[in-house]
């Protein structure tokens, strides 16, 4: 299938040259490419002519390259990231599947089922060995021989290792695949972990979120397609272009934070006026994600704009990061009344004891000189 270039595929489907160039522009926008990259698609130093535009670069890549084969695994997940991706606006999933990538295996989206689809996966993994992008959705349960998550009788760890072996790169989409997510929440009965905890010999890009922002996923994939390389990543392996700022930094309610105007409850005047949700538990200040700038549903809104505090879903262990509606500055653990009382009583008892000892010592000191006499 991937003998034709992407542009040829699109042309065949009736996409005009003008629409193709518009599409290239959309990709440039999604990637946030404001200047030429320093590397070219084949990984060598870029030798573009002066005045060369990013959109031209994208167009060049799409008209010379074939589609990227993708294998999509769903492990301990809820299919929410897949669900979100089908609502991706720029580039849309339709465009993405039809022109840029070929999804060779996806449990939820595949028409086939059972052993037929498993066979298709095996065939794709052999055909595109070393070329395909492996997308993982959901966490992996490596403990107790992987009995807590099996597909077709095989453990999640087994399935991941097999698919990762031939992958060019791995994209862990959603908090579960990236950091363990909900399955990893205390007490973590399945011993859930993220992909990068297990796969260390392949490049792993984390796109955390619950779900991941679909445009971030398509943006990363488009970057891989255009440049043949992975985007710049932060210490948690998240693409800096999308996870470089906190939600708080880009929040439209930020001025109210600065002015000290806070909603005290979800139905008070402050909430109606759109004031800051910090007191209602917003985790925006420590959450790195593009929600506030890219927004959701085609730029319509994002949780904070809609009146709900940020949960911090792109950060590791956000389920255990304090109550969703508890202010972020509040401590995660606090002593119980009993513990505090015990500490108070304990301190007092030790104090009385020390005082008594002191007293006794003083008395014996007073008596000693008398004894000498």
């Amino acid at each position: 299938m991937p003998e034709k270039t992407i542009y040829e595929e699109m042309k065949q489907k009736g996409v005009t040259r003008r629409d193709f160039l518009k599409f290239c522009g959309a990709i440039v926008g999604a990637l946030g490419l404001t200047r030429l990259p320093t590397i070219s698609a084949d990984g060598a130093a870029y030798k573009g002519a002066k005045g060369f535009q990013p959109a031209q670069l994208v167009a060049q890549a799409l008209s010379t390259k074939q589609r990227v084969p993708v294998i999509w695994l769903e492990l301990q997940d809820c299919a929410g990231c897949s669900e979100a991706l089908t609502r991706s606006q720029s580039p849309t999933l339709g465009n993405l599947v039809l022109s840029q990538i070929t999804v060779e295996y996806h449990e939820t989206l595949s028409a086939a089922a059972g052993f037929q689809v498993e066979e298709a996966k095996q065939a794709a993994m052999q055909k595109y060995a070393g070329q395909y992008v492996l997308v993982v959705e959901g966490s992996i349960s490596p403990i107790d021989d992987g009995v807590y998550c099996t597909i077709g009788g095989r453990s999640s760890l087994d399935i991941l290792k097999e698919a990762a072996a031939g992958a060019a790169a791995i994209i862990a989409t959603g908090n579960c695949a990236a950091f363990g997510g909900l399955p990893k929440a205390k007490p973590n009965p399945t011993g859930a972990v993220g992909v990068w905890d297990l796969i260390t010999d392949k490049p792993v890009i984390n796109i955390p979120g619950c779900p991941a922002i679909p445009e971030v996923f398509t943006g990363v994939l488009a970057h891989f397609l255009v440049f043949g390389t992975l985007p710049a990543l932060d210490s948690l392996h998240r693409p800096v272009a999308f996870y470089g700022n906190t939600v708080h930094d880009r929040c439209l309610r930020r001025p109210f934070y600065e002015a000290g105007k806070f909603a005290e409850s979800f139905d008070d005047e402050g909430a109606r006026q759109g004031w800051c949700l910090y007191k209602l538990g917003c985790k925006g200040p420590t959450t790195y994600n593009a929600c506030a700038s890219m927004k959701w549903c085609g730029g319509l809104s994002f949780p904070v704009q809609s009146g709900h505090p940020c949960l911090g879903c792109s950060e590791p262990d956000f389920w255990d990061g304090g109550g969703f509606y508890q202010g972020q500055s509040a401590p995660l653990d606090k002593p119980t009344v009993l513990a505090a009382g015990a500490a108070l009583a304990g301190g007092a008892v030790v104090g009385v004891g020390a005082a008594a000892l002191n007293h006794a010592q003083k008395k014996s000191h007073k008596q000693e000189p008398k004894a000498k006499e």
Binding site: G260, T286, D333, H359
Partner: protein, 225 residues
């Protein structure tokens, strides 16, 4: 181990332990002071002890800080008097009337209160930091203070200074990532909580007792405290 883990530790188990050490330590200190014994005074009272204590609090907390020029200390060394006063006022405003800190109190006590807008709290924090630097320099150059300043005094200043500065920096997103500064802030607060009962910072509690006892003493003798 990343900053998120450090933060979870500093906000979680370490904070809990630090708070318990603080409570136990302050209880111990208070009991020890009480058991030092009370002065036996057989002279009949000439005035009200309670009245004396009340006047002592009134002057110490409500009058002197706001009408400082009647005090001899102020006339002799106004900069240090103001720096000390503003430091304590700033600390109170930031710790009690700052939104982030009120939420800590709320989670511990179960109730909250109205807070001041961030710009006001922010300016008070800046004033507090400048006041601390002033007091620090004063300790370095004042010949008398130099004689009575030991490692414990420097530790007191440093252990209060670090939470102030990290708190200010994280509010303004200065130089480091927010969660890194938040972690350092919380670690510094945990150290402070453990340090308070071991140090003279415990005057935050003993001050009120000594004010009351001195006031009662003066009141009993019908002398203006």
């Amino acid at each position: 181990m990343n900053w998120t883990d450090v933060l979870a530790f500093a906000r979680g188990p370490l904070f809990q332990v630090a708070l318990l050490v603080f409570i136990a330590g302050m209880a111990y200190r208070l009991v020890r002071v009480i058991f030092l014994g009370w002065q036996v005074d057989k002279v009949p009272a000439r005035g009200s002890k309670v009245g004396g204590a009340a006047i002592s609090f009134l002057k110490g907390i409500l009058i002197w800080p706001f009408v400082p020029w009647v005090k001899n200390t102020f006339k002799k060394n106004p900069v240090i008097y103001l720096a000390g006063g503003l430091f304590h006022l700033g600390l109170f405003v930031v710790l009690v009337l700052g939104t982030a800190h009120m939420l800590v109190w709320k989670s511990l006590l179960g109730f909250g209160w109205k807070t001041l807008p961030l710009p006001i709290v922010d300016w008070m924090a800046a004033v507090t930091i400048v006041a601390m630097i002033t007091l620090f320099i004063n300790r370095l150059i004042n010949p008398v203070l130099k004689l009575i300043t030991g490692p414990a005094e420097w530790a007191n200043l440093a252990i209060v200074f670090v939470p102030m500065v990290t708190g200010y920096m994280m509010t303004h997103h200065l130089w480091f990532r927010y969660e890194a500064l938040f972690s350092l802030h919380m670690l510094a607060v945990d150290v402070l909580l453990i340090w308070i009962p071991l140090s003279r910072i415990s005057h935050f509690m003993f001050y009120f007792f000594s004010k009351a006892i001195h006031g009662a003493d003066f009141g009993k003798r019908a002398v203006e405290p």
